[in-house]
Amino acid sequence: MTTRRALIAYLPAMTFAGGLAARSKPAFAADKTVTVGIDVPLTGADAEGAILIKNGAMMAVDEANAQGGVAGYKIKVIVLDDGTTSAGQYDPAQSATNARKLVADSSVVANVGPEMSGSGKAMAAILSQGDLATITPSSTNPDITDPKFASQFVPKGRPIYFRTVTTDAYQGPNMANYFAHTLNVKKVYILDDSGAYGVGMANAFEAQAKKNGMTVLGHDELDPKEADYATILTKIKGLNPDALYYGGVSLAGVKLAKQSYNILPNIIKGGGDGVYGAPMLKGSGFPAMEGWYATIAAPYIADNPDVQPWIKRYTEKYNQGPGAYSFTAYDAMLVILDAIKRVAESGKPVTRSAVRDAIQTSNLKTLQGVISFDKYGDINSRIVSVFRAHYNSQYPVEDSLHQYKYLGVAPQTS
């Protein structure tokens, strides 16, 4: 389904938009525009995450435009909704329609989205045909950028599906290493939220956990629309595990945290970036979240002074704290704006093909660190940072920066 990836990192790039403005000439900013798409499921059950993504991406654009645009271009955004009433949530068919709309609109030079891997699978080939780059802030299914499936997802050969998150292939296994080597977990039970993201993460964790010699007591799926998880938690309790690993997002995660606090108070509980972030903190609260391990697929730079002001700006702008999605979406948009800037400054026309090439060669400091992509479009940084939730009553409960304690980097699988 999705990934949320948390903010992190240093933010010298924070001032990216401002820096741009200083160098560009606002005088002719209004003369030229380029359009960037945002494609997320605003209708139906996935609306929550979609809004966080949209807001994060819009913030980058608004900041750039407020400074006069990017290298003389005003940035226009078209927001496309790939959720439908017919599906009641994200709808891959609508994602495909939107991809074609984006391709058909010649002013569009790049896109942020989709939120869901299911959408990504329906969009990739179309975008490839149109040579239009998209950067997903949240879809983590490895198949889309897997060279094995290249003939299907990128028939034209040039990568167009970039990510500001790592795929499931790293977070789950690295956390399995952390569980085995650092936390000395012997017996683990695995749950996922039956979404593509959660299942992928949990399966990857399971495979690595078995390699590490852990006993996997079971692996079951939660229905994210269902409220009662006491049944499965009671069952898990009867199996006496050392730890519970959860692959999934906050929709089911919030309920899992609350109910496991009552039923399994004393075992190690952890998850991926789905359990890192404001929605999880705000929805579960403390003490339910206390002690949960979470990972993010990015390096953590301790005591980063730049992220706080960003969160403050975001919160003021939208009256709501950012989610993990918001950071990656903001970063994705920064990468696109930077690509547009580099194309424009090189004197070439700002075409989608040129922008795609520029995205491919990105090397940009963003909220989560330096972003660059490998030859398939995946983010190069594969560091998985581990956190543990610990209540700090001096800060608001949804303040991710202060309610999670950074523990270190999860061991890579060699």
Partner: protein, 667 residues
Amino acid sequence: MTIQAKLTGPWPEVASWLRARTTLRTQHASMACLLLVALLFPPLINNDGDVDAAANALSFAALALGLNIVVGFAGLLDLGYAAFFAIGAYAYGALASWQLHPAWSSFWVPFQWLDLVSEVDGAVHFQVSFWLMLPISAAIAAFFGILFGAPTLRLKGDYLAIVTLGFGEIVPIVARNSPTLTNGAQGLNGVLPPVLFGYQFGVDATPYYYVGLALVVFLMFTSQRLKMSRIGRAWMAIREDEIGAAAMGVDRVRYKLMAFAIGAAFAGATGTLYVAKLQTATPEMFMFPVSVMLLVMIVFGGMGNVWGVVVGALILQILQSWLLQDLSGWLQALGELINVEWLQHVDLSQSIELIFGIILVLMMLYRRQGLIPASRRVAGLSLDEQAAQVSRGGFDALAGLGSIEERRTGPLLEIEGLTVRFGGLVALRSVSLSVPAHGIVAVIGPNGSGKSTLFNAVTGLLRADSGSVRFAGQQIAGMPAHRILKLGIARTFQNLRLFPNLTVLENVLVGMHSRLRTGLVGAVVRPPGTNREEHDAQERALEILSVFGNRLVPRINHVVSSLSYANRRRAEIARAIATRPKLLLLDEPTAGMNPAETLELADQIKSLNRLGLTIVLIEHKLDVVVNLADNVVVLDHGEVIASGPPDVVRRDEEVIRAYLGRSANVA
């Protein structure tokens, strides 16, 4: 003499009905125009996104057409229809992708020759052709349609809805929990796009649009032809009144399952197209909201109307994928233009569901029949027609009806020891009676004496607990209603069981159901034989209706719910005659008629009898009984208390005490 020749003049309605056949040509012309517009749409609009949205909308139109067969025609409310969509989608998805890859062995070689599989890296790669899979998926879905339909046959509307809802929930969960077949929540990878004569469909939306258009046109054609056939009439009869349909010879089990199967087949084929176009599928694409949305589409467009459901699906689908998003953009632009702050931030896309909900409720409250209603109201009769002298048709026309004038001797119907119990209550206690061929027997008795129960037991609508019923020497007790009808027993009902939203003509045609042979293929293809059969059936229906003269003939295209009570009785009798019975059971045929009308009908019944028809009637009006019946059977508390010629029975002490005694001076 043809019916045209006979009927021109006095009944203008018939003439106009016949004229309607020629206006079909103008209809065809306008349809051709529409099709031309649809064909030119992609090059004209020249936007792949919009073409794609249109292709999706066409897929939903195809689904709506399938659901319309089940819900609109047969009246079986299906809330889990998306399950068949899923089955069709995964059938193609699994057989034309990298999902299944068993190890290669010589077993696969013949399939390789047929180009269904190929060997890739020592594993099997399924690559069954899209065009081959369209009918196969339809067949697989039809199979599941029968499988899911079978247990629901006995259930009432809303219970049926629940069971189908249950299946609709189960199928995507099974898909999600069977990752080997479906790749579960991760979604299928590498579903092959279709290839047509070497042309790769690829990712361009336009070829899919044309396939979708062809599919919709084909399904509309199929739906329309089915609707106007013996099969469609049987479905609609079930929808309107299940018991009435059974009594008119419709095999309910068979036709309900047929509706489920065909509806599912539509969805199966559409699922294949949909997944080929998307080249992926996730279980979330087939959940409850899809089924509900399809229901909304056909309700919105006009349930039962083929054009209506297509228009409903296209409008709602295009509204959400297309118009509302653009509309938000226009409103925002307008906001910027006139500098209105809130307009600049309007985002309608988040309110689509809300808007749909409001549309749905408003439609239900103010326009339930949908945008394009299924049954068009026919304009009322002119004053002249209303004031026309009552006329009666001749009965000569019926002389050709076949078996009824075949003379036989001895009893046609023999009932012995027939007992029916409802729980503890004995409705019929060891009833025995015999109806001589070509005679008229009247069954009388106070209310609740078991008269209608007797009819129900004879016609198979009720199962007798014991006893025998022999018709023309054959044991019929325990046979299903439609088979008994086919042997030659037809009936009318005390409370009328016409099909209220069908026209008079259609009602009579349903009566002919068991005498016609048109099957599924014939109904769609319409070979000359079927056309002739249909034409003959319509002519015969007119002949039968003309028995009642200008009572019914000017109203043949009126829905029966708009008829007067007496005319409905006549229509029901006409429908029963249309089944070509040897024995006609009339349950209070003159109820609700004034004395003149009663006399007229009694006369007509007599004429039918003279043609050779054996008649049993339940009647309260004793003058009618005395006038018509050769024999009278008196029931009281489920027992035969007297029988014999009318004047004998009238003098029977027990009858007077049990029945006549209650109103001393009857007759």
